[in-house]
Each structure stands twice: as C-alpha cells, then as structure tokens.
C-alpha cells in the first residue's frame, strides 16, 4: 500500500458508521423521501470506501467504480421519486408502512 497521511482504517470506520446511519434511517423513518435520502447516504458511504482504497493502492479502478455507482444512484433516485409521486396520486398521502400492494 502507498503511504497515506490518514490511516486507511479511519476511512473504513467513518464509512461504515455513515453506512449504518443510513441503514438506521431506512429502518426507523417512514417518510419515503427521507428513506430515499438514507439510501443515498449508504451509496455515498460505499463511494467513500472506493476512494479510500483506490488511494491506498494507487489504482484508479475504484474511481471508475464510484462513477458507475453515482450513475446507478441517480437512476435509483429518479425512479424512487417517481414511485412516491405515483403512490401520492392514488392514495393522496404517502407512508412506507401503507404501501404493501404491488399494483396501482
């Protein structure tokens, strides 16, 4: 591994704490927008880890992978928000506890 000013383990610890803050948000909150934002937190924690390991090994494959993750996250956010809007149109309110039917 290449020398780093901040040890790799610190980045791993930070990333895993942020990831599980996101998990807690998905489990505890029932506002679908905040659930989606928690999912974004988890994506970004994973990206931070990609960056840290790319830096540690001096290999930019991690950068490419994080770029692809950002693309998928953008697609996921768009589709998730479209689903929220669709549910809101039929039910006039949105609550992740109430959305249990897999049809309109």
């Amino acid at each position: 591994m290449l020398p780093m000013s901040v040890p790799l383990i610190d980045y791993v610890a930070l990333s895993s704490v942020i990831f599980f803050i996101g998990v807690a948000g998905v489990l505890v909150r029932r506002n679908p927008l905040i659930v989606l934002m928690s999912i974004e937190l988890m994506f970004n924690a994973a990206n931070l880890l990609f960056m840290a390991f790319a830096r540690a090994w001096g290999n930019n494959a991690g950068h490419i992978f994080a770029f692809l993750v950002i693309t998928v996250a953008a697609a996921e956010a768009a589709i998730g928000l479209a689903i929220v809007v669709t549910v809101f149109r039929t039910a006039r309110h949105v609550d992740v506890d109430d959305v249990s039917l897999m049809k309109g």
Binding site: D10, H63, T71, L81, R92, H93
Partner: protein
C-alpha cells in the same frame, strides 16, 4: 489528520441530521452539507474528478429532484402520514447492527494481508491535486474510463435509458386526478388535522 477529523465530524453530524430532521426539506439541506463535506474528503484522497462530479450530480441534480418532489407533494395537501408509527421502534437494533458491522470491518482491515503488488503497472504516480497526469487527475480518470473500462461506461448509457423509460411509464402522461366533492372534503379535513398535530412525523 486535523482536516480529516473536522470533515469526519461534519459528515457524521450531517448524516444524523439527515435521518432525524422533522421535515424532509431540512433533510435535504443536511444532505447538501454532507455531500459538500464528502467532496472535500474526495479531494483529500486525490479524487479530484469525482469530487466535482459529486457536487454537480448529487448536489446539483439529485437533491434538486428531491426538492421538486417535496414542493410538488406539499402543494395544497398534507402529503405525509401523521400519527403513531405502525412499525416498532428499530433505533436500538439499528445502532447495535452498526456497531457490530463497524467491529467486523475494522477487524478485517486490521488483518489485511500485505499486497504483493504495490501499484498497478502503468498507473499514474501520486502528485499534488490539480497537477496534470497524476493519480486521480481528470486525464488519468478519462484514460481509464475510455480504454480499460469502456464497456462498463457504455452499459451506463443503457442503465440511464432504462431509468428514463421507467420514470416516464410511472409518472408520465396520465389523465389528471379529479377529486370529487367528498374526497376534497376528506383531504381538507386531513390537512386541518395535520396542521393541528404539527406536520409529518
């Protein structure tokens, strides 16, 4: 190390603020601060192109999309449910899970075997952020993206197209929602109740 500590505190504080904010708009603001701190962290890790992409794509596109949906849903009705949470409180199990995962990951990294190859052959050397042809510079990133990783990059286009088609199918052209008088009265009653109880959750 000092910069990393400040950024880590900012990242954790804004992440907790994101999941604990009462209104989704505050969550978006917290997430904006989180992404800004994350971009600074990426710069510390010599990932200058990804730092810029983080600001443009996340702060500029995804968060604005969230704001549009919040504005759309909040116009006229109380969109988010009020009253007690039907799910049991999962805060304690979630925190325990986080600590267990943290321990497992830390153990794993602490016992990493020393790599046999120190750097990828032909990889750009480390250098100051902003310099040309160093690790993580735009040229370095672009060269890798358009040569070695060309196929994943092309598949990205397919992913985005599928997402666009999916969004159009889900939320696209539809006959507008027409509320009957009874439904409108019901919505107004729910609004009044929501205002009395102080908004969502």
């Amino acid at each position: 190390m000092i910069a990393f500590s400040i950024l880590a505190v900012m990242l954790l504080a804004t992440a907790i603020w994101t999941i604990s904010a009462k209104k989704p708009v505050y969550s978006v603001v917290a997430l904006l601060a989180h992404f800004a701190a994350l971009a600074a962290t990426y710069l510390m890790l010599h990932a200058e192109f990804l730092a810029v992409i983080q600001l443009i794509v996340y702060s500029g596109a995804i968060l604005i999309l969230f704001l549009f949906v919040i504005a759309l849903l909040s116009s006229g009705v109380a969109p988010f449910s009020v009253g007690p949470n039907k799910m049991p409180k999962l805060a304690v199990p979630a925190v325990v899970l986080a600590l267990v995962a943290l321990g497992a990951l830390s153990y794993g990294v602490a016992h990493l075997a020393a790599p046999t190859v120190t750097a990828t052959p032909g990889a750009a050397p480390l250098g100051p952020v902003g310099a040309a042809d160093v690790f993580g510079s735009v040229a370095d990133f672009g060269k890798a993206l358009f040569t070695t990783y060309l196929l994943p990059f092309e598949i990205t286009a397919l992913v985005l197209m599928v997402a666009v088609i999916g969004v159009i199918l889900l939320a696209g052209d539809r006959t507008p929602y027409v509320a009957t008088e009874k439904q409108a009265r019901e919505v107004r009653r729910e609004m009044r109740e929501a205002i009395v109880r102080g908004g969502d959750r």
